[in-house]
C-alpha cells in the first residue's frame, strides 16, 4: 500500500472521528446549553422536593427558562433549599410562585414558575416566597383513603 | 583476535548449553563453529551479539566486554561492529528488497536518498540481486532471501559478520552461491566472518579455523585439515558424516527381541 494512500485514509478516519465527536457533543448532549448558562440564580424553600434533582428543568408556561443547579437542606427551618438558575433574558415578578410538578403520571419532576403581578422583578440572589411542595403519591393516596373513611 | 571468549557458561533451565568454554576468533579470517543440532551454536552468536547474557565468563569483541555495555552503548557498538545473517534471512516482510537493504542506512545515517540509492544498488550488485530489488520477501526463494539479508548486513560496513546456518536447506546451486559469497566478502572487504553450521564439507571449504562443539564443550579446534585427521573417533564421525560410531544409530533401548515379545503380551 502506497504511503500517500495510507496517509489519506488515516486522515479521513481521524476527520470522521472528530466529526462524530462534534455531533455527539453538540447534537446529542446538553453541551450546547452549557454555554447559555450565564443566567442568574434565585433560591426557593420547599417543604418537600420529591424526586427533584440537580439539572431538573425549570419552566414557566411550558417554556423551559432555566434549571435546578443546587439542592440543600436548611437546618434552621427544616426545609429543602433549591437553587435555580434562570437564563438571562427571562424576567419574573417578585411575587412569582414556584411549585414542583410532575410531567405525566410517572414522568420526571420539574419546577413550574407562576408569575404574579408585582411591579418589581426578581433580582439575582432573591428568594421566591410562594412555594408549593411536591405531591408525594403515597401521601395523596393516604389522604384520599382517610377522607373516604371519615365520610362514611 | 577480534573476539575472545573466556570461561563462558550459559544454561537454559537445568540444561547447561555452554560449560566453561574458551574460544578465539581471529580478525579478518573465516572461523567456523560446527557441532550437531541443538548444541547451542545459534545461542553462541546471540551471546556474542549481546542479545543473551552469559551466566559466567566474558566475551570481548575488539577488546570491549559486550555484556558490560549499557543499552545505548551496546546498540552503538553493534552498529559499528557487527552484522548478523539469520537462518531465515529475517527480512522485514512489509518492505521490498530495496527498502530492506536501505533500512539500516535510513535508520542510522542521515544520508540523502540518492546516496542511499547508490549504496543499496552496490550492495545488491555484490550479492547479484540488483535486478530483484522490487520483489517482496515473500516472493524470494530461501537462498535469495539470505543473499538479500547479506547485502543488508554489510550495508553499514561492519567489522564482522555472523552467519547462522547459512547453508541449511539450500539446493546445491544456492549453496554454491552462498559459499562463494561468504568467501568473497571475507576476501574483498576484509570482514571477520563467523560461520555457524553443521554442513561440514561446505563450511570446511571456506574456513580458516574450525571449532567443533558438543555437549557444551569445545571438542576439537584447529585448521580444517587438522580436524579431518583428528584422533577423536567422535570428531571423525562428525566430520565424515558416518551413520554409526561413538554416536550410536539406535536411541538407547532394550533388545529388539525383548521389546517384540513384550508387545505380544499386550504391553
Amino acid at each position: 500500500m502506497n504511503t500517500r494512500t495510507i496517509e489519506i485514509m488515516v486522515g479521513l478516519f481521524v476527520a470522521a472521528a472528530i466529526a462524530a465527536l462534534f455531533m455527539l457533543a453538540l447534537k446529542v448532549s446538553n453541551l450546547a446549553s452549557y454555554g447559555q448558562d450565564e443566567g442568574y440564580e434565585i433560591k426557593a424553600h420547599f417543604d418537600n422536593i420529591g424526586g427533584l434533582k440537580e439539572r431538573s428543568p425549570v419552566s414557566a408556561g411550558g417554556v423551559r427558562v432555566g434549571k435546578v443547579v443546587g439542592i440543600n437542606y436548611d437546618n434552621q427551618n427544616f426545609e429543602a433549599v433549591v437553587t435555580i438558575s434562570i437564563q438571562q433574558g427571562y424576567q419574573f415578578p417578585k411575587d412569582t410562585a414556584a411549585s414542583i410538578l410532575t410531567a405525566g403520571l410517572l414522568g420526571e419532576q420539574y419546577i413550574g414558575l407562576d408569575p404574579g403581578g408585582d411591579e418589581e422583578n426578581l433580582q439575582p440572589g432573591d428568594e421566591i416566597e410562594l412555594t408549593q411542595p411536591a405531591l408525594v403519591l403515597e401521601q395523596v393516596i393516604g389522604q384520599f383513603l382517610y377522607s373516604k373513611a371519615q365520610g362514611e | 583476535m577480534l573476539v575472545e571468549i573466556r570461561g563462558l557458561s550459559f544454561s537454559r533451565g537445568n540444561r547447561a548449553i555452554f560449560d566453561n568454554v574458551d574460544m578465539d576468533i581471529p580478525r579478518g579470517k573465516v572461523t567456523a563453529i560446527m557441532g550437531p543440532s541443538g548444541t547451542g551454536k545459534t545461542t553462541l552468536l546471540k551471546l556474542i551479539g549481546g542479545q543473551l547474557k552469559p551466566d559466567a565468563g566474558t566475551i570481548r569483541v575488539d577488546g570491549q566486554d559486550v555484556h558490560r555495555l549499557g543499552h545505548n552503548a551496546l546498540y552503538a557498538f553493534r552498529r559499528r561492529m557487527m552484522g548478523m545473517l539469520f537462518q531465515s534471512g529475517a527480512l522485514l516482510t512489509d518492505l521490498n528488497v530495496y527498502d530492506n537493504v536501505a533500512f539500516p542506512l535510513r535508520e542510522h545515517t542521515k544520508l540523502s536518498e540518492s546516496v542511499i540509492r547508490h549504496l543499496v544498488l552496490l550492495k545488491l550488485q555484490a550479492v547479484g540481486l540488483r535486478g530483484a530489488r522490487y520483489l517482496m520477501p515473500a516472493e524470494l526463494s530461501g537462498g535469495m532471501a539470505r543473499r538479500v539479508a547479506l547485502a543488508r548486513a554489510i550495508a553499514l560496513d561492519p567489522e564482522m559478520i555472523m552467519y547462522d546456518e547459512p547453508f541449511t536447506g539450500q539446493d546445491p546451486i544456492s549453496m554454491g552461491v552462498l559459499v562463494k559469497l561468504i568467501h568473497d566478502m571475507n576476501h574483498a572487504l576484509g570482514l571477520t566472518s563467523v560461520v555457524v553450521s553443521h554442513d561440514v564439507r561446505e563450511t570446511a571449504s571456506i574456513s580458516d579455523y574450525v571449532y567443533v562443539i558438543s555437549a557444551g564443550k569445545v571438542v576439537e579446534h584447529g585448521s580444517p585439515e587438522k580436524l579431518h585427521h583428528s584422533g577423536s573417533a567422535w570428531v571423525k564421525q562428525f566430520m565424515d558424516g558416518l551413520p554409526d560410531g561413538p554416536v550410536p544409530f539406535h536411541y538407547p533401548a532394550n533388545g529388539l527381541i525383548d521389546d517384540l515379545m513384550q508387545s505380544e503380551q499386550g504391553k
Partner: protein
C-alpha cells in the same frame, strides 16, 4: 497423584505471576520509549491505518445494527407507558454509557488486537525482531511503540464513531420506521443527555479499554513462543484476556462513575 496435582497447580500459579511481572516490565519499557516515537509520525500513521482504519468497517456496521436494535427494543417497552418519545434517550444513554465503549473494546480486541499479536508474534518467530536488534534498531522503538500508540489513539476515535453511528441507527428506526417526530428525537437528547456525566464518562472508559487491550495484544505478541502453536495460543489469549479485561474494567469504572 494428589501431590502431582498440587505441584502443577503451584507451577501454573507461579507462571501466571511471572507473566504478569513480564507484562508490567514490558509496559514500563514501552512507555519509556514512547516519547521517542513522536519524532517518527510516519511509523504511527502507518499503524493507524492497520489498526484503526481497517477496524472501521466492522465498527460502523456493528454500531448501526446495535443502534437500530436498541431503538426497536426500547419502543416495545416504552410504548406501553406512552413514553415512546424517550426512545432516543434510551438508545443514547445505553450507547454512550455502556454499549459504545464495551462493544468497541470487544470488537477491537477481536479484530485489531488479534492481528497485532499475530503480526508481532510472526515477526518474532521469523527472527525479524532479533534481526532488528542486531542491526542496532531497537524493536521496542521501531515495532512496539508505534503499534501501542496507534492502538491507544484508535480506540477512543472508533468509540466516538460507534456511538454516533449507533445513534443514527436509532434515528433511522425511530423516525423513519416508527414515524416518531424528528424534533422530539433530538430535543430529548439535548435536554437530558449530560455532556460530562454521560458522554465524557463513556469516552474515559474507551481510553482505559484501549490502553489495556493494546497492552495485552502487543505484549502477547512480543512474549509468545516463536512457534506456530505458540502464536495461535497468544492470539487466542489476546482475544480472551482482552475481552474479559474490557468487561471487568467496565464494571469497575461504572461502579466508580455512576455510583454517586
Amino acid at each position: 497423584m494428589m501431590r502431582d496435582k498440587l505441584q502443577s497447580l503451584g507451577r501454573h500459579t507461579l507462571d501466571i505471576f511471572a507473566r504478569i511481572g513480564r507484562g508490567a516490565e514490558f509496559l514500563i519499557h514501552t512507555l519509556y520509549v514512547l516519547p521517542a516515537i513522536l519524532l517518527r509520525p510516519a511509523l504511527v500513521i502507518r499503524q493507524l491505518y492497520y489498526v484503526g482504519v481497517q477496524t472501521l468497517v466492522i465498527i460502523v456496521v456493528a454500531g448501526l445494527f446495535v443502534g437500530m436494535v436498541m431503538a426497536l427494543q426500547s419502543y416495545i417497552v416504552l410504548v406501553d407507558f406512552g413514553a415512546e418519545e424517550s426512545i432516543s434517550l434510551m438508545v443514547a444513554l445505553s450507547i454512550m454509557r455502556e454499549l459504545g465503549p464495551v462493544f468497541t473494546g470487544l470488537l477491537f480486541a477481536g479484530r485489531a488486537g488479534s492481528a497485532l499479536t499475530a503480526e508481532i508474534g510472526l515477526m518474532k518467530s521469523t527472527e525479524q525482531l532479533s534481526g532488528m536488534e542486531m542491526m542496532a534498531v531497537d524493536p521496542m522503538k521501531y515495532v512496539i511503540a508505534p503499534r501501542f500508540l496507534a492502538g491507544f489513539i484508535s480506540v477512543p476515535l472508533l468509540t466516538a464513531i460507534f456511538m454516533s453511528v449507533a445513534i443514527l441507527g436509532g434515528y433511522l428506526v425511530a423516525v423513519e420506521l416508527l414515524q416518531l417526530y424528528d424534533g422530539v428525537f433530538w430535543s430529548q437528547l439535548q435536554a437530558k443527555v449530560d455532556f460530562y456525566e454521560d458522554f465524557m464518562n463513556g469516552m474515559i472508559k474507551s481510553v482505559v479499554f484501549g490502553f489495556v487491550i493494546v497492552w495485552i495484544a502487543v505484549f502477547e505478541g512480543f512474549d509468545c513462543l516463536p512457534t506456530s502453536e505458540g502464536l495461535g495460543q497468544a492470539t487466542t489469549r489476546t482475544v480472551v484476556h482482552g475481552s474479559l479485561a474490557v468487561l471487568g474494567l467496565d464494571f469497575i469504572l461504572t461502579a466508580i462513575m455512576f455510583s454517586a
